[in-house]
């Protein structure tokens, strides 16, 4: 297993390098520059700006400068838009917030989703299937930009239980976590139901049942491990998605997370911030997928690390 993780870490570095390189060139190819505003600056000032940021140099020179600095010092440079803050600083401030939100949301999603999925799989095509599955669907048929404001209007403005915006007290974290969690709950519910049904119909489960094991024992001890496989392989992308892709929820609830930078950095053509977020995202994806692959082996003893 150690060898497996070591080799995957090396591969991860390659992934980061490739992703970073492609992004570096493509983001500069996109029309529009970091300095374009509704009000244009004069050509002389534009030249000053390009010179200040080294954008007047050939693109390969820019590339070399950027990556040699990044590799030797680990410095992503200052942001183009937030000119007195560095990319590292921005990510350092917002990533923990996104992680916190992501973990709460994941708890909500897994708690609702897996419970509903397991329940549904026990008696397929009965009410105990339809009701939990329908409930778990609410989150996906109601996009976050509908669910978020609805929860806020009801529990924030109408009932006054929570603040309408902000991210300081624990109460501030309830509604965003629910909004984001509900959405992913549907995925977990459906993948779990499918996975469980597949396993529950297998011979070894029948054997266990025939031997008189209690239903609870059958489910918890034998079925759950294999039944969760599809849900688990989805968990890697889901976690990365929750941590980085919560743009809408962050905007609605005014949360200082990283999600908004993934969208706004690209929209602002904040070249350095785009690079920082993309490389971070690639790293997160790689790490989460590695964890998922390890967990899959653990869930399915027939697999080995190769």
């Amino acid at each position: 297993m150690f060898k497996f993780i070591a080799s995957r870490s090396l591969q991860m570095l390659a992934v980061l390098a490739v992703t970073g390189t492609i992004t570096f060139f493509l983001v500069r190819l996109a029309p529009g520059s970091p300095f374009d505003q509704e009000r244009n600056v004069s050509p002389e000032i534009r030249r000053n700006l390009d010179a200040y940021y080294g954008l007047d140099k050939p693109i390969l020179t820019q590339y070399w400068r950027y990556f040699s600095k990044l590799v030797t010092t680990g410095d992503f440079g200052p942001s183009f838009k937030y000119s007195n803050r560095t990319v590292t600083e921005i990510i350092g401030e917002s990533l923990p917030v996104s992680f916190e939100l992501g973990i709460y949301a994941m708890i909500v999603a897994v708690a609702i989703g897996v419970t509903a999925g397991v329940l549904a799989s026990l008696r397929p095509n009965t009410m105990t299937d339809y009701v939990p599955m329908s409930l778990s669907m609410v989150g996906i048929s109601m996009p976050t930009f509908v669910m978020g404001p609805l929860l806020l209007l009801l529990f924030g403005l109408q009932l006054g239980w929570f603040n309408v915006s902000g991210w300081s007290s624990f109460g501030d974290k309830v509604l965003p976590a629910l909004t984001l969690g509900f959405y992913y709950a549907a995925y977990f519910a459906r993948l779990t139901r499918g996975g469980m049904l597949e396993i529950l119909s297998q011979d070894y489960i029948r054997t266990a049942r025939a031997k008189g094991a209690s239903e609870l024992r059958v489910v918890l001890k034998h079925a759950l491990r294999g039944g969760l496989l599809p849900a688990v392989s989805f968990m890697g992308p889901a976690l990365a998605g929750i941590v980085t892709g919560s743009f809408t929820v962050e905007t609605i609830f005014q949360i200082p997370g990283l999600g908004r930078y993934f969208v706004t950095a690209a929209l602002n053509r904040d070249y350095t911030l785009v690079m920082g977020t993309v490389i971070l995202f690639a790293a997160l994806i790689s790490v989460f997928n590695l964890v998922v692959d390890v967990v899959m082996v653990w869930l399915n003893p027939r697999l080995k690390f190769d």
Binding site: P31, N40, V41, P43, Y52, Y82, N84, T86, S165, N268
Partner: protein, 558 residues
């Protein structure tokens, strides 16, 4: 048994309810609390890019910076006329080109250092230095030698028109007399910065300098920076070293960078904000009907469509004919657009320049005249719109731009028989397309930096960076440059002639004049409506005894 179950359930519910209630005891709202403590909660519309007056260019930045810094003059909150700031008085030479400012003896920095004329000289040198690449350096091109120093043609800054004649005496020499010079001085670009602090925390011409952090910053305004939590809030607190500290009544201002106007409106309704940056269009009616907080104020800005008139770049040949452009302008029912689509008091625009400041009123305007428009179109050889290739209208993605474009699309189809395709592009792509003249008709907006018709008409001179239509008329350019040195009624007449050329050639189709729409609670005092939406913080305070405001009853509560 049953009873016990019931009892259990009841206990659980009660316990849950108590816990919930305990967690959510109704505290007084942030606004009510703020009223008592003179703490202002301000919806600022976005996270500031920086707080360095020489580096920034946006409105959220300006709102904070004008609390932290003060220029030579500041403005009267009611009519925006210049009043003494750091300078207690000034003299103007007879030719209108040389200004001598006498700085206050007690003007000081927040660390106690006296504020001297030399600080201004060093500040102006910094913003004009090409190494800093300040976007607003252009503002100081009005100084003699300012543009030349910036472009490197004049390497010696002592030749630039700003001199310290003594520790408290500053002389500024302009390239040409400018009637709006004093009004311009209230802009961030003209604020002084404390160069020793800048040098201490980084390089003077490096934007990525940590001097604007709360722990480092030294400023000279009515407030000092206390806290900066990115994407959460910025807190400024009263500056005891400010020369006019007695006038300042607010203890703190909290700036919230809420970008979504829906989220901001909810925060306002929830008692978290004293003012919002804007108000969602759909909520205007509700606030008009039942709330007491809506403000709709004239604003010195125009919303218009650019027409690409560059012969080599315009892909729709019909649009190169001024008659077609006038026909398009004349078939827009602006009353209906402002009344039915925008619905927040915006004014129909029949000229590029809004009437008002400096006594300017456009003489020749376009009008809503569909019959005349059809005649013009026939004259141009397109009776009933036949032969006009599909016109494409470029907008950037936004609900309101889309609605206006859709309404105009239908009007042009109905009145002129011209088919219109709406192309929406993401913000930066849209800017790049306009810049490259890669469009046929494009949405545009212009909001003036200072209250003067020149702020509008200047942009249409040939080669101006904000013209972006390819429109170039030597006659127009001549009129504009004449207007710079003219004064009074003569100047107004010249500007009217220039505007008349625009309305004949119609490279810009005016649609409406902006209003500033926002929400404000009634406890805010010393806040006066004005054309530039400029509300100097030192005159604002909160009424402790104000009644809570009436909020509109909406949706779920109905």
């Amino acid at each position: 048994m049953k009873i016990r179950h019931f009892a259990n359930a009841a206990t659980t519910i009660l316990l849950g309810a108590t816990l919930l209630a305990a967690g959510c005891v109704k505290k007084p709202s942030r606004v009510a609390q703020g009223n008592k403590e003179q703490v202002f909660h301000f919806g600022n519309g976005g996270e500031p890019a920086d707080l360095d007056p020489h580096v920034i260019q946006g409105v959220p930045e300006h709102n904070i910076i004008k609390a932290l810094f003060e220029g030579l003059v500041t403005v009267n909150p009611k009519d925006l006329s210049p009043i003494p700031g750091v300078a207690e008085r000034w003299e103007v030479s007879p030719d209108g080109k040389t200004y001598t400012f006498y700085l206050r003896q007690n003007a000081a920095w927040s660390n106690g250092d006296p504020l001297t004329a030399d600080d201004f000289v060093k500040s102006y040198e910094r913003i004009l230095n090409a190494k800093l690449a300040a976007p607003y350096a252009e503002m100081l091109f009005l100084l003699e030698g300012g543009a030349e120093y910036n472009s490197g043609k004049l390497p010696d800054f002592t030749k630039v028109g700003v001199k310290a004649l003594g520790p408290k005496k500053l002389q500024v020499t302009l390239k040409a007399p400018a009637s709006y010079f004093l009004a311009m001085l209230n802009h961030d670009a003209w604020y002084p910065v404390h160069t020793p602090t800048i040098d201490k925390f980084g390089k003077r011409y490096d934007k990525n300098n940590r001097w604007t952090r709360p722990e480092n910053i030294v400023s000279n305004g009515a407030f000092v920076l206390k806290e900066w939590k990115p994407q959460v809030e910025i807190v400024v607190t009263k500056n005891p070293k400010y020369w006019d500290a007695n006038q300042v009544r607010l203890k703190e201002i909290h700036f919230y960078p809420i970008e979504s106007n829906d989220a901001e409106e909810r925060a306002f309704r929830g008692g978290q904000l004293h003012t919002t940056n804007t108000v969602p269009t759909d909520k205007v009616d509700s606030y008009k009907k039942s709330g007491s907080s809506l403000r709709i104020e004239p604003y010195y800005g125009a919303y218009y469509y650019r027409v690409n008139v560059d012969k080599t770049k315009e892909k729709n040949p019909a649009l190169l004919d001024p008659r077609v452009r006038r026909a398009l302008a004349m078939s827009i029912d602006r009353d209906s657009i402002t009344k039915n689509v925008l619905r927040a008091g915006q004014f129909p625009a029949y000229s590029l320049t809004p009437p008002g400041p400096a006594g300017y009123r456009p003489k020749e305007q376009t009008k809503f005249d569909p019959d005349g428009a059809r005649r013009l179109l026939s004259e141009a050889g397109f009776p009933g719109g036949k032969g006009v290739p599909k016109v494409s209208v470029l907008i950037n993605t936004s609900e309101d731009h889309k609605k206006v474009a859709e309404a105009i699309q239908q009007m042009w189809k109905k009145e002129l028989g011209i088919d219109v395709e709406i192309v929406n592009q993401e913000w930066k792509v849209y800017l790049a397309s306009q810049h490259a003249l890669d469009y046929q008709i494009g949405r545009a907006a212009w909001i003036a930096d200072f209250p003067d018709p020149n702020a509008f008409l200047d942009i249409m001179t040939s080669g101006n960076g904000n013209n972006e239509t390819g429109f170039a008329s030597p006659e127009y350019d001549k009129l504009i440059s004449d207007s710079w040195s003219a004064t009074g009624a003569a100047r107004i007449e010249i500007l009217q002639k220039a505007e008349a050329i625009l309305m004949q050639e119609m490279p810009v189709i005016p649609i409406y004049f902006y209003t500033r729409n926002y929400l404000i609670v009634s406890s805010v005092k010393g806040w006066f409506p004005n054309l530039l939406d400029d509300h100097p913080w030192k005159f604002i305070y909160l009424d402790e005894n104000a009644q809570p405001d009436k909020m509109p009853v909406l949706g779920l509560a109905q």
